[in-house]
């Protein structure tokens, strides 16, 4: 049977600069987060302004839309989530600004393949 876990959440970070990815992953290690997956993605702004000609002159309506998006996915202990949020904001800057990326966490339902980690010291 798959186990429903309440001790972890799926942390999703949307990062616009690759240099920030390095720093966030280093910060994750500090927090005892030893696993994450980084997906090289394209944001809506990038696709619309680059791939759809009719929008190509409207790039300034999509702040930082020309940048790639890197998606960092990690199952994180719930007690570390808030610290991880602060870490991402420290690295990426004010996330309330348009086009600056973002971070959120989702509850995890049934899962397999993610053994429980010992708490970080």
């Amino acid at each position: 049977m798959s186990e429903i876990r309440n001790d972890v959440e799926l942390l999703v970070c949307l990062v616009k600069e690759y240099g920030h990815v390095d720093e966030i992953l280093a910060g994750f290690l500090e927090l005892g987060i030893s696993g994450a997956t980084v997906v090289d993605g394209r944001g809506m702004g990038e696709i619309i302004t680059r791939d759809i000609p009719v929008f190509s002159g409207l790039r300034n309506l999509f702040p930082r839309g020309d940048l790639h998006t890197y998606v960092i996915l990690s199952l994180v202990q719930v007690e570390v989530i808030e610290t991880a949020f602060r870490l991402v904001e420290e690295v990426c800057g004010d996330l309330s600004l348009p086009g600056s990326g973002g971070v959120f966490a989702l509850p995890v339902g049934r899962n397999r393949g993610f053994p429980k980690q010992p708490p970080a010291e």
Binding site: A26, G27, G32, S34
Partner: protein, 152 residues
Amino acid sequence: MRLKDYVQPDSIFTRIVADERGELNRIITEILVSRYEDINAGNLLKDLNTQDRVACTQGDCIIGVPNAFVDSLPDTVCLVVRVLPRTDAVSPDTIRVGFFVISPSRNAMKHLRLIARISRFACHTGFCSDLAAIDDPEAFYQRILAEDEKHV
């Protein structure tokens, strides 16, 4: 994790004279051997030379993080050095500031986390150049503590 838990005033050396990394690693090995019993100097030096990594380069200021595992140590130690070249004609990859992280292998996760924190600080503009310019060990220590407080 905080650097202040591992970096103490007596683990800071702001006037280490060395022209290349091998020489610097030899000096640090001698310091560690004089402080801790049962360290095999040859093995430590070999490990430091192998794991002599650069955390970040900012212009001509390079932070190095040589590290090694020594099982006879009671806990992880971090020595921080400011390197003074003898001449201006030093190798371009000579580090200006070094964080030497040495741990017993049972502290592997702690070792990794400490290096991660140092590498994060090293990415920030001004940290290395500030440290490279500070001669006074106490001021050097306070600059590290200030950076430690600044970050999550």
